[in-house]
């Protein structure tokens, strides 16, 4: 991975025109230049030239970014700001180290049967003691004081049984035996530990298309939480585990129902391992080229809409509004496929005003900067409410956690669903 100073050519492409001010959700909320990409690039420049140090103020400003990529998209010179921010965060970690707990979790994730899974299982058991169920919102609120989690925050409950524990162990596909596309499903942490139903719906929908689907055992976190914190070392270790686990099966495609995981596996993975041996890089290329978001795979390869055409939009179909996850829209350029699938499932789409504005989750951002995250979330929740839709659909479990919290806060009765859930429900 490139170091902060290696980005000097990109940083000096910033002419400080200010275009990024019009799209940055943290700037729109904070109303301060320090939140803008232009401001941060100025700080990086000063940091590289030694004019300022990795001070607390610097660290705070660098933490105030969702990595949503809106600035890069609007920038006339397409400066890869999120990538540069991650490099800066890596610099900060090198300087200050990771918080102990974070470091332990990241290392623990390397062993899928290790302490992280066991601890979460215990927590799944104990959560009703610590949290109260705010029924019909799909979330929990705390009963006792907890670090990082405020009174009003709606926290998604851990699943009673984790997704990967539900799925039988599959033997690898043998070469050439199966004609239909062989698809490996990557669950990711949120689907595994919190929303196994999305995983189950995904498998149901994939199988409906006639694909041969397996869920390789031993898979772990995609590494995105580590990458976005700038912890490239742990992310690299996780990437190598996933690489081996999926290579063991003879797959045509690797798919996930989490936009963040797709972006991680398809794009960040390659960057993480760009300094490795040619042999390993070749394996990574093969892996990355197989990774497809489930919405993209269902529409463009498995032709699901055609096979469900009898279920097309009915006049009385419920109204759905679609939130574009940053990692899908800007990370992978996918915008039409999710909408097509919503219509395939028989719903009418009513667009919100800013469908591709970030929900404000930004991974650990929502923990370290909860107030700001919440304020950005409010913009999204009001936008959704304004459509009058009964359902807010998206393609990322992370966004779903955030949307539920936001909609709960403004007391909007809008159900938050993953697109694969809409499809699976429709299939009955």
């Amino acid at each position: 991975m490139k170091k902060l100073a290696d980005y000097m050519p990109e940083i000096s492409m910033c002419v400080r025109c200010g275009t990024c001010r019009s799209t940055c959700p943290t700037l729109i909320t904070l109303g301060r230049e320090t939140a803008s990409a232009r401001g941060k690039l100025t700080l990086f420049d000063a940091c590289i030239s030694g004019e300022i140090e990795l001070s607390d103020t610097f660290v705070k400003h660098i933490s105030e970014c969702l990595l949503c990529g809106a600035c890069q998209q609007s920038c006339p010179n397409s400066i890869p700001v999120p990538e540069i921010i991650m490099a800066a965060r890596a610099e900060i970690i090198n300087d200050r180290g990771l918080p102990l707990i974070t470091s332990a979790i990241m290392k623990g994730l390397r062993d899928p049967d290790g302490f992280v899974g066991k601890t979460l299982k215990l927590a799944s058991f104990a959560q009703r003691v610590i949290f109260k169920d705010t029924s019909n919102t799909g979330g929990l609120q705390r009963r006792l004081p907890l670090p990082y989690i405020t009174d009003e925050r709606l926290v998604p409950p851990l699943a009673k049984r984790f997704f990967l524990d539900e799925i039988p162990l599959n033997p690898p596909f043998s070469k050439g035996e199966i004609k239909s596309p062989r698809v490996g499903f990557f669950a990711g942490c949120l689907i595994n530990y919190v929303m196994p139903d999305i995983g189950l719906s995904s498998l149901k929908v994939l199988e409906k298309t006639g694909a041969a689907v397996i869920v390789p055992h031993g898979q772990t976190c995609c590494g995105m939480p580590a990458i976005s914190m700038g912890d490239f070392e742990d992310a690299r270790a996780l990437a190598l585990i996933n690489l081996e686990v999926f290579e063991a099966h003879d797959l045509d495609f690797i798919t996930t129902s989490c936009a963040t995981c797709t972006d991680g596996l398809k794009n960040k993975f390659r960057k993480l391992l760009e300094d490795e041996s040619p042999e390993l890089k070749r394996r990574v290329d093969v892996f990355c080229s197989k990774v497809r978001d489930i919405t993209d795979l269902l529409v463009n390869e498995l032709k699901l809409p055609a096979s469900m055409s009898d279920l097309k939009v009915s006049e009385d179909g419920a109204v759905v509004t679609y939130h574009d996850p940053c990692h899908l829209r800007r990370g992978l350029g996918i915008k039409d496929e999710p909408r097509e699938l919503i219509e395939t499932a028989g719903f009418r789409i009513k667009e919100m005003k800013h469908p591709c504005r970030c929900c404000g989750l930004g991974g650990s951002f929502s923990i370290t900067n909860y107030d700001l995250s919440s304020e950005i979330n409010m913009l999204k929740a009001e936008d959704i409410k304004g459509t009058g839709a009964e359902i807010a659909a998206t393609a990322c479990p992370g966004c779903m956690v955030q949307l539920r919290d936001g909609l709960h806060k403004i007391d909007a009765r809008v159900e938050v669903k993953h697109i694969v859930e809409l499809l699976a429900d429709r299939m009955g």
């Binding site: 002419v15 100025t42 610097f58």
Partner: protein
Amino acid sequence: MLSELVIRSLQVIAGSDNVLTSKEDRLCYAYDATNQIFLPDAVVFPSNAEDVSKVLKLANTERFYVTPRGAGTGLSGGSIPVSGGVVLSLERMRRILRIDTENLIAVVEPGVVNFELQMELGKAGLFFPPEPTSMRYCTIGGNIAECAGGPRSVKYGVTRDYVLGLEVVLPTGEIMEAGTQTVKGVTGYDLTRLMVGSEGTLGIVTKATLKLLPFPKAVNTILAIFNNDYMAGDAAAEIMNAGVNPSAVEFMDMTSVKCTRESERFDFQADSGALLLIELDGERESLERRAGAVSDICLRKGASDVRVVPSKKEVKDLWWLRRSILPSLVKIRPHKMVNDVVIPMSVVSEFLQEVREIERGKVIIIACFGHAGEGNIHVNILFDKNNAEEAGKAKEAVDDIINLTIRLGGTISGEHGIGMTKRVYAGMELHPVAVEVMKNIKEVLDPNGILNPGKVLTEAMSGKQ
């Protein structure tokens, strides 16, 4: 440097969260779109006119400089704190106070982003005609301070034509109301117009009453491609005399077009030299006839291709292309000197020819684009300041272009302002008596010289010979 006492007083005035003093924070308020850096000693975020007034009164007693700032997107350094002191950022004052659809006026705070106002007005079928190219992120306060223009000013005029009244905090801290809530009004001297375009040197706008217009019923966009600049310049002049009343006549040379990422979406021929992007608005029935007239003129002036842009998507792409030229020029050379000259329509073509001669003579790249329908051409000299020879030639080229502009009866700035970057040239254009009057006005309003120092006027300025 500001004393501890001053910092504490500023904190009392604006609240301690609204006073920034760390170097990291100050760096983010040290620049604008001219891409130069001058560190302020503190950044203060007032929330109302009283805060602004108190800061200015303190500045007069404690003698520190104050530089007002909107979004920091100006192109002449107007919001850069050249001499340090306090940057007064109006980002927090971003409320739209009133939209009066019966009387077609809006009352806003200075930190409102132009585009956000347009969005709100759009709901009522109205718009605020000044739409500078940076409209998505620049503020109304900045538009007023610089008297911003933009593509549509060819038909609708500039910011000064749409500011009816102002609440301004004078450099000494008094809060003054000027102007009217009505479209006409001649009671007393026109202090509103004195303030509009004064580049934050005579007062800080804290509230503005703006004139609005109903949104045009229909719009037609025409793209014409020419082999060279002069033909395009000629065509622009003729379009302005043809009675078709265009709402934009934008000129772009191919150096400008090709550096934008949007240009990849269009297959411009290799021998294309310049584009005209022409917009007509008004009653739907009239559009076709007017578009036909525009096409005829372009073809007669030698356009190799003229077409009415068919889809909304393509129109949007063309405007994005136009709006992203200036920041994209960095792909050609790392630095630029942005000139914003206005030339009488009849000699625009001649001007463009002479600019190309300067370009060839100095062996330097010059990118030209702008609002050709008004003769407002942005002449950008591209160079690398780390290359002494090139930087020297760039400076000479700017001198030549300024001289040429004045010789042809033009003005050195149409809409970007004089700021810090063009002060040395302003004296070449201004009449000596006018310079004297300007200096007196500044002296009367700002006796201690605390507001936005180092802008517009220089001590040595005496006016043209």
